[in-house]
């Protein structure tokens, strides 16, 4: 397995209110800010429903899992949301390696991940993660 220093960006599908509702159903999240445009507008002044953070977590989680050769190799990560995501937004996930430490049996890779809107580049979330790759699986480029 090759773990590249800079993983190619992941362009996520355009966010739709249907997908938002579907995520809410799957995660049992009844928050009306994600489901009811009128509620979101009247209570927060939002222009539309807001995508739940679990969507970004899911995309970044898949991105990290693929980068690491499997979700079991993602040791830990944290995320900070910086801007809301609305229906019709499209998000690109990109990441870069910050540090790599040989632990003997494993190699530990620290990386930074950014989620940004396509067109304008507004950053909606930043994540940092530690990937722990079994040494036998690792061929560094």
């Amino acid at each position: 397995m090759t773990v590249r220093k800079d993983r190619p960006p992941l362009v996520c599908p355009v966010v739709t209110s249907v997908d938002i509702a579907w995520v809410c159903v799957a995660t049992s999240d009844p928050n009306p800010l994600h489901l009811d445009r009128d509620f979101a507008n009247e209570t927060r002044g939002y222009k539309d429903v807001v995508a739940p953070g679990t969507m970004l977590i899911g995309w970044i989680g898949e991105y990290l899992g693929d980068w690491a050769g499997g979700p079991e190799n993602v040791a830990n990560w944290s995320i900070r949301f910086t801007s809301p995501v609305w229906p019709k937004d499209q998000i690109t996930i990109s990441g870069r390696e910050i540090n790599r430490v040989d632990l003997g049996r494993d190699t530990e890779i620290s990386c930074e991940v950014t989620a940004a809107k396509v067109g304008g580049g507004e950053i909606v979330a930043r994540a940092s993660a530690t990937l722990r790759i079994p040494f036998n699986d690792l061929i560094s480029d």
């Binding site: 995660t27 679990t54 979700p71 040791a75 830990n76 944290s78 900070r80």
Partner: protein, 150 residues
């Protein structure tokens, strides 16, 4: 409710929660996000890769702890308190698959004073989630900022 009541609950925990990870929910989540890796929605592909069943995508696992929101508000006197989310981090210790039985609870682990335009404190909650084998699968640290001037 007051900040003093929150301080009194330092070290206390919510009641334990239990849930079963449903395969259909994992598939719904993966489809809603248009995930590409079949280990998140195709059982045969997941088993071929050496997993017990479909894998729970990290976003889905994290959502399980969101079910504790109500219990946290009640146990730690957060209802009606002026508070904002201050960040989350996760440590994964084992893979979660469809059919797994998870259990856990949330503890108010730390309270620290923060410097800002308004007087505020950071409440640090730690949630530990274990599976049916007794393995800890995930620990979540969540920070909530509460303002003391209201």
């Amino acid at each position: 409710m007051s900040i003093a009541q929150i301080h009194q609950s330092l070290g206390c925990a919510t009641p334990a929660f239990n849930c079963v990870v449903e395969r259909v929910k994992l598939i719904e989540f993966a489809q809603a996000l248009h995930l590409r890796n079949p280990i998140y929605f195709d059982r045969a592909a997941a088993i071929e890769r050496g997993y017990r069943d479909i894998i729970a995508c990290p976003g889905y696992v994290n959502s399980i702890t969101l079910g504790l929101r109500g219990a946290k508000k009640e146990r730690f006197y957060l209802a009606g308190i002026d508070a904002i989310a201050g960040g989350m981090s996760w440590n994964y210790h084992a893979t979660v698959c469809a059919g797994d039985e998870l259990s856990g609870r949330c503890i108010l682990a730390r309270i620290t004073e923060k410097v800002g335009k308004r007087p505020m404190e950071a409440l640090e909650f730690e949630t530990t989630v274990a599976n049916q084998f007794g393995e800890t699968v995930m620990t979540v640290t969540e920070t909530t900022i509460v303002f003391r001037d209201r």
